[in-house]
Symmetry: none
Subunit: 194 residues, 4 copies
């Protein structure tokens, strides 16, 4: 059985999300995570190399949820525009459903060290690559402007989505994030049609 499929591995990852969301990144001690997961401190180190490894794993495991769904979306027959909409909706939906995860990814993990954030970025790259291919698809099909700079466009799309989510979390998730999807989609789409 793969390490990441073992029940304790998952328990610890989930415990880390809960502890970070509730206590903040700098108050998420290993001992707190172990307690939340119901294991001994030392057990953590049977599954993770060190604390940083836990945090990268949290990000990797959760980002997979985003990426897997985007992969599915890409394989469907819809237009690039529809795919973009579904992708935004999915992104908002995942964070909307898991408030703790939203706090962790939008606020807490960003306080991690430069090294950790570079490693997190590695994980993010897969997601951004999928977004890239979606955009290129739209350019080829003629839906988006022919002279669209896909790197810039990707930064616009991701930047907008990210800023919207962060803003929502910072406002204590007062309003419905999911409901913003159509507007954000429309906004971004106009940008790309150029």
């Amino acid at each position: 059985m793969l390490k990441r499929e073992k029940p304790k591995y998952k328990k610890i990852v989930d415990a880390a999300v809960a502890v970070i969301a509730q206590n903040g990144y700098h108050q998420a001690q290993v001992s707190k995570i172990a307690k939340e997961a119901g294991v001994a401190d030392g057990t953590i180190y049977l599954y993770f190399k060190n604390k940083e490894d836990i945090l990268v794993s949290v990000f990797r495991e959760k980002m997979a949820v985003f990426a897997d769904y985007v992969k599915e979306i890409l394989e469907t027959d819809c237009s690039a525009s529809d795919k973009l909409f579904k992708m935004i909706q999915n992104h908002f939906s995942v964070l909307h459903e898991d408030r703790n995860l939203a706090i962790v990814t939008q606020l807490e993990l960003r306080q991690s060290s430069k090294e950790l954030r570079f490693r997190i970025n590695e994980v993010l790259k897969e997601y951004l690559a999928l977004l890239d291919s979606l955009l290129k698809e739209g350019v080829q099909s003629g839906e988006f402007s022919q002279d669209l700079d896909t790197r810039l466009a990707r930064q616009m799309v991701f930047g907008t989505i990210d800023e919207t989510c962060t803003s929502w979390v910072m406002n204590d998730q007062k309003y419905g994030l999911l409901e913003l999807a159509p507007k954000v989609h429309k906004l971004l789409l106009s940008g790309m049609k150029g």
Copy 2:
């Protein structure tokens, strides 16, 4: 004389930027900043309440450079579109000119605690408010779509600018940030014309 006009105050703020850029947020100890500024550790505390206060001040002082210029721009007679362009250009230009500042604002200061980032956000709000009024101006003048959600649009504009700058810093400032301004402007504009 105002505290923030005293020469040592400025020396310490500049020293903080240099030290953080060169050593990273987590390696920017108060004693290092003091040494760089050429003062004793204790002297820091005659000008700043605590370490967090230094960091917020760094952000406040530097963000003022952005905001002051945007204020000037807003008072000119150009179209909203032109003003947006000048604003983007200014934002890119400031970071392009001061590489250390770019590293500090886009990478290092984001590792600060949630509390510090909330305070940094307070400072940012003034800048975002100016952006808001620019957008509203564009809607009123008919340049932008009438049903533009200015909050979302502001998140798009700021998110895109921010993501572009961060991406540039993360790629070691290899390419010219300033040259991206026209493309980014065009991209965002289309989004707002809807």
Copy 3:
């Protein structure tokens, strides 16, 4: 069958010597010894009470090699001087032949706790007792000075042998230890003839 004659017992003792010699005392974890011996961690505790027990056993088993030969020597008909020579030669020879053992006894085991070293000393006492009787024999036979303080003399003999071996190990066993035997013997003998 005696515990110490069982094949796994010997395997574990030999594994301990190898692991300590290669990794150093402080890096010789029980799990490493178990792996080297080809048994599970828990199995160790079927043959040894605890880690200290392994280390004492290593010393006991290996020291027996020295002592057994010295016993043989003592029973022969040679002069005390010849017996001393054979003993030195034997001591050097055993360490010369087993480089790992030399590293373990001269360098690594000395880092053990005071308690362990007291227990190791117990084992050593048999060896020193044999040395004592050799010296007394020499005094009685008139080979050595009549007023020789055998305790001091024993400390000189053992101290010299030990220091010579340690020095040889610390110099990476560059030169031939065995070849020093005649010189050391002559040196010590003069001391004892007084």
Copy 4:
């Protein structure tokens, strides 16, 4: 003022000797040493790089006491034999007077890591070099055997002295160490006269 002349530096070194002698090497925590020295834990790190640095310093400072006196002895007009006697007497005397120091150098510091012991050996080398020159002086003056191997002889002298001291400490310093000096001297001398 040199670091090692500052009063707190000395206080901490002396506190380390006391704590190690009373509690054993492995129970000599930094916090215990700090408490004994009457300073805060952190103060230790203003004077020493890390814990190992304290221990090496203990050895360096105390070994200087041995070495300094041996230097004086070497410069006198006595015979090599007399100098050797004075050196043995000095060695025994220092340890006799400072029981804690004897425990620390003969038992406790030997449990330190291989790395630390190599560093301690560096310090020891100066002492051994002095011993070497004493022996060579004796060979030149004709007091000692012309074909004396000074390296081996040095190992005999140091090995015997060391073994005698260790034996004395291990027997709880029951008898007078100092009184053994004449006998040890006579024993070693015979060895060197060949």
